[in-house]
Amino acid sequence: MSAVVSKIREPLITGGKSYHDITEDLCSPTESVPNATWIFAFVASVGLLTVGLFCIFWTIWFGIGAWNLNRTIGWGWDITNFVWWIGIGHAGTLISAILLLFRQKWRTGVNRAAEAMTIFAVMCAGLFPALHTGRPWFDFFMFPYPNSRGPLWVNFNSPLLWDLFAISTYFTVSLLFWYTGLVPDFATVRDRATGLRKKIYNFLSFGWTGSAKHWQRWEYLSLVLAGLATPLVLSVHTIVSFDFATSVIPGWHTTIFPPYFVAGAVFSGFAMVLTLMIMTRKILSLEDYITIEHIESMNKVILCTGSIVGVAYLTELFVAWYSGYVYEQFAFYNRAAGIYWWSYFGMMACNVISPQIFWIKKFRRNIFITFFMSIFINIGMWFERFVIIATTLARDYLPSSWSYYYPTWVEMGIYIGTFGLFFVLFLLFTRVAPVVAIAEVKSILKTGGDQYVGKNATHAHHHAASHDHGHDSHDDHHAH
């Protein structure tokens, strides 16, 4: 990375941190006793998880009839929640892989937590199709292993099977990516620890010594994984969209689905990262590492992906009219003005209209508004999936089969339970691993620390020099 930094860039690490300060600040949450806020949050999350476990038990005991799925609406909350969680899982790999390839330095403040979030979100997502099979103990049938089931074989033509491969691959690569980043940081924690703790962290860091060879291989592996993860992050939601778009159902079969699902996934993923990071930076006092500048950058990604989603919604609407195909036209009329109009309205309001306030810099840099918006977007993206799934199925080709779907308490309970699972895992993560990537933040200190760049830089000669460099050609030109 270039050491020359433009004068108009804002610092990404504030508080004039030294390398030692960074180690201290980022390791301390793993070394201290949790505070009351954390304990309260943990207990509450375990409570939600318990609700979820009870409802899962109920579903398995009484069968899938405990859900309100019916003849026409075979997919309800389960698949809505599945797609929603998978979407949230997109931000982590986007930040770690694509932003790494684009050399965005601000990723270092949030990548670790976002990757962790990805892994937990994919776990929550996986739960729904697993339960939807009704007999989860037979779920291994979904894998095309050499079997003793005779001619029974998985359907390779089905996008649902492709989905299984896409998501399990994605989960594996995300996990590897996350863990690779953690290795040097675990070593840092180990070096400060004693006794059994030291042994555990030594094991977790694979005996990392920080030799030049270790770093070289580590960097190489990071790049290879980034290269693999970039097409993967696109493929996962692409294939989720294929679940719908390969069908002949009006409103589902549309060619824009793949890129539009990916954009929507990134959109919701960033919203969830913001929700989590705004809380985490407060509770763990990480305001110097996850700065307003980070929040503003993420808000810009949200504005961009939100608007892409908006363009896609309007494209769909327009082409439904343009197609001259009455069923397609009805499907969209039904979405906007049918029985589930409120969910279409919620989707438009939360995903397209309200994020437009981020055109204004003041709002992008306002933590309260950002937090509020991030929740809003998560609701909106949930509505989007509900609109696509339930609205369409409730009004299919055969009016005699038309029905209205609403969830039972069991379905709601499982959804609530996934929040419990997600937050339990995330809260545990904040205690055992550095929430911000220590080694990666250190790598940008000289080009992102506020003592080096920005208005209040004290090491002024550094950027003054860079500014002069910028004028080399300028002076040359005057000499002509």
Binding site: S2, V5, I8, P258, G470, S473
Partner: protein, 430 residues
């Protein structure tokens, strides 16, 4: 370092020579009436106009996107894209010819523009097109084209260029020029997203007037983007060979090469998504578009994938090929021609069907829509494959494009001297 490009007389003469060649080829293609209503001429004219106008548009889009994203690395060569964006006005003038043809019925590029299409009492009545008439009509076509290209050019391309050039002489350390440039950029992005989609539907998708695909606008925009990148790399390497742009190093070229690789794959992603979903669902109204191309234009069809995906993917995969000018230029030639070929395939088959259809409708007494014999259609020069005339026209339009671009490049320094990110760009390394 020499940062002031001079557009030499010899270069002008060469380019004018090619423009004349293009004009002659265009004229000759008018005489070929194998496909009725001079369709070879009209489809060539539309094809090249849309292709080069699109490159100009997408260059402005790239500038706006990079500026909004706080990009720094590209700044040293941003004048090339600024110059590209100035071609928009020529694109608009060229589109006026097509528009005149829509009003005067000089061509049958668009079946929706034919007389009586929306009139239930006319033998030409087409209920589907009557349903689309709110969008597919000559007013929309005319005012959309003039309004949107005009807006891209007058409201964005010209002021952005003016601010950027003014920054060279009046730039301050407060970077207020850059601030203004950034505002234009941010506003351009959403406007460009909507308006380009609307115009692509009008210009290209409506040739196959019954067919529709929600992906189409994004797909063809990606095609423009890859062509613009390929042409940019070739322009910069040419300028370097003339002794300009010493500051543009292998590091910059490497990054442009990476973008070429990445967006070739992205284009393929969109291609695959559009094709696979239509193939899988197998709805007749949608598959007919691909059926026509796979059956009657197999060389175009497979060549498209080979030139725009297989070869650039394999060649640009290695790091070193993105830093060697030889292989990089080979890939740029492939993808630049390849995406021109892609637009050829988007336009030509539909245009031929429209002309044949109109001819049969006019020459069969009972108003019976004369269907061409089923089976594979024979070789039709200028349609089945680009012929020599098409190559000549392509070179002519390219020369016209370069003539405008080089003229613009000569008007200002090649390096934006007071851009706040120039320092980063000059010290860029991968």
């Amino acid at each position: 370092m020499n940062n002031q490009f001079t557009f030499e007389g010899k270069q002008r003469t060469t380019l004018i020579g090619f423009i004349i060649l293009g004009a002659i080829c265009l004229g000759l293609s008018f005489l070929d009436n194998t496909v009725p209503y001079h369709m070879r001429f009209w489809s060539n004219f539309l094809h090249n106009t849309v292709f080069f106008t699109g490159i100009s548009f997408i260059s402005l889009f790239v500038l706006a996107a990079f500026t909004t994203a706080y990009g720094g690395w590209y700044v040293v060569m941003k004048r090339v894209w600024e110059a590209y964006s100035q071609f928009l006005i020529v694109g608009l003038l060229l589109m006026l010819v097509i528009i005149a043809g829509v009003w005067g019925h000089f061509h049958h590029l668009y079946h929706w523009a034919a007389d009586g299409i929306t009139d239930p009492n006319s033998p030409a009545y087409d209920p589907i097109l009557a349903g689309k008439a709110g969008f597919l009509n000559k007013y929309w076509y005319t005012f959309g084209t003039i309004g949107f290209i005009g807006m891209w050019y007058f409201v964005f391309a010209v002021p952005m260029r003016r601010i950027s050039v003014a920054e060279d002489t009046e730039g301050t350390t407060d970077f207020e020029h850059h601030e203004r440039y950034r505002k234009f950029s941010a506003f351009f992005l959403p406007i460009a997203a909507f308006s380009s989609a609307a115009m692509i539907w009008q210009w290209v998708m409506s040739i196959d007037s019954h067919w529709y695909s929600t992906m189409f606008a994004w797909y063809s925009t990606a095609s423009w983007f890859v062509s613009a990148l390929a042409l940019t790399i070739m322009t910069i390497i040419w300028l370097k060979s003339k002794g300009y742009y010493e500051q543009v190093t292998d590091e910059h070229i490497h990054d442009l090469g990476k973008l070429l690789f990445a967006f070739s794959v992205f284009w393929t992603y969109l291609w695959f998504s559009q094709f696979m979903l239509i193939w899988y669902a197998n709805i007749g109204e949608e598959t007919i578009y691909f059926k026509e191309r796979v059956t009657n234009y197999p060389v175009l069809w497979y060549g498209n994938l080979v030139m725009n995906f297989v070869l650039p993917f394999l060649i640009l995969m290695r790091n070193s090929t993105k830093r060697k000018y030889g292989t990089l230029i080979l890939c740029c030639l492939l993808t630049f021609f390849g995406h021109w070929w892609d637009f050829f395939m988007m336009i030509k088959p539909g245009a031929k069907i429209n002309a044949d259809h109109a001819y049969h409708a006019a020459h069969s007494a009972g108003g019976d829509h004369g269907h061409a014999a089923h089976g594979v259609q024979g070789f039709v020069s200028g349609f089945t494959l680009p012929g020599f005339l098409e190559i000549g026209i392509f070179l002519g339009f390219l020369a016209l494009f370069l003539y405008v671009v080089l003229g613009q490049l000569a008007k200002a320094s090649l390096v934006p001297k007071n851009d706040p990110y120039l320092g980063e760009s000059l010290h860029h390394h991968v």
